[in-house]
Symmetry: C2
DNA sequence: TATCCTTTGTGTAATCCAGACACTTAGTAT
DNA sequence: ATACTAAGTGTCTGGATTACACAAAGGATA
């Protein structure tokens, strides 16, 4: 094919890459795709791709997310823009990285056409990654952990309806430490972010748990 | 000139823009340059410009900062990447925005060659700006204010040597409220970030103040 | 139908941190 | 000597965070 888009000065290519977090099997996991083409063919990498010339950055990230996971309407935030001159061997590529949080009940993967394969990996068992994607993931994880302490971002991992024990478990996984049940519930109630649905949930031979929902499912509040 | 840089797919242009904050005349001010060329010729805008094809993003921002203010070695942090398809009427432009904090003793402006004029403006007396630069500034200001409360970023406005009253004044300007002297000093001492130089400073007909310096002048610590 | 098992759900006391608040000290000018 | 001004310093109170243990509800089983 001919080189038909010409400029007076050299232009870099622009991509978006998305770090897709979820909680699966009591662990923080993220989505990787196996690269079907060069460079790094066969390596695992973050889902992402080139920005269409008339497409907004966030739309591009949402599109990648939709193509790789089939989900939309989840929490998505711009993370950082990476642009070391040699980060892609083909040409100069600026990558605007986003990160997304997927509720644990919405992760039906569908392998996309341009990815030979896609799978979830626990954060502490990542393979070697293409490009500078290990660095991107490290920064995304730092952002997530830091937002834990001053926002309600962790609620974005919850399904529509959940129990307080499930919510506590999410915090325990993310912070990697056990929490006191009474203090946790006291703290949650001061946040004023959840309400009872009136339903109960029976799992196993013991007292059923009250079911809650978020008051503002799509909002991430700054707290403290 | 001919269009000699050609690609198989259309590429956006990439720029960096820098929101340069300083404290002048007891106010938070920022640097704007008057645009010498189209579009928005004659309008005020953030200092910035196109990324060289082999230049790192942060290097590009540092270069703009150096060209417009003559300073280097100051605090510079990536802010956000703006990429609405129509934000520049010439062509698709992705702008990676940075913000910088300049100590109040280092702001000798030198008008650069490609800016007809450059000047400081108080944040609350900004003129109409080119492109989406009003939005960029708003987000930079939000970031600065929020970092105030959980980091030592405000120290980056201080000269090498300063008194505790001067430091308190910086916080009062940035937070736009008076602070209690004893509580402020108690808080500063818990931070363990400053040390006495042994010098004193006499200004006016009253008790001289002890002079301090930062223990780690180039580091911004996360606190709390 | 009584007992056991498991998870849900709840309160109080102790400690730490943040905020309110006023006077003495050191120097200059008259 | 006196007056003026900004520098420098400690205590008390209220609110928030932490530590900590037992009763309640339901299912399974004997």
């Amino acid at each position: 094919m001919s080189q038909k888009y010409c400029y007076q000065y050299p232009h870099p290519a622009v991509t978006t890459d998305v770090v897709v977090f979820t909680l699966r099997d009591e662990r923080l996991q993220l989505l990787l795709v196996k690269r079907g083409g060069e460079p790094f063919k066969g390596s695992w990498a973050l889902p992402g791709g080139f920005l269409d010339i008339d497409e907004d950055l966030e739309s591009c990230a949402k599109r990648e997310l939709q193509e790789e996971t089939g989900v939309s309407g989840v929490y998505l935030e711009q993370l950082f823009t990476f642009g070391k001159p040699d980060r892609d061997p083909r040409e100069r590529v600026i990558s605007v990285a986003y990160y997304a949080l997927i509720p644990s009940d919405r992760l039906e993967l569908k392998a996309s056409s341009d990815a030979a394969d896609a799978d979830w990996f626990p954060l502490d068992e990542l393979p070697e990654l293409a490009f500078d994607h290990n660095q991107v993931i490290r920064i995304a994880h730092e952002r997530l952990v830091s937002k834990l302490s001053y926002s309600t971002i962790a609620f974005q991992f919850m399904p529509e309806a959940f129990t307080l024990s499930e919510l506590q478990s999410v915090y325990e996984i993310l912070r990697n430490e056990p929490l006191d049940k009474r203090n946790f519930r006291k703290w949650i109630s001061t946040l004023d972010q959840v309400e009872e649905t009136g339903e109960q949930r029976r799992t196993g031979q013991h007292r059923p748990a009250k079911v809650y929902r978020m008051k503002h499912p799509n909002r991430v509040e700054i707290i403290r």
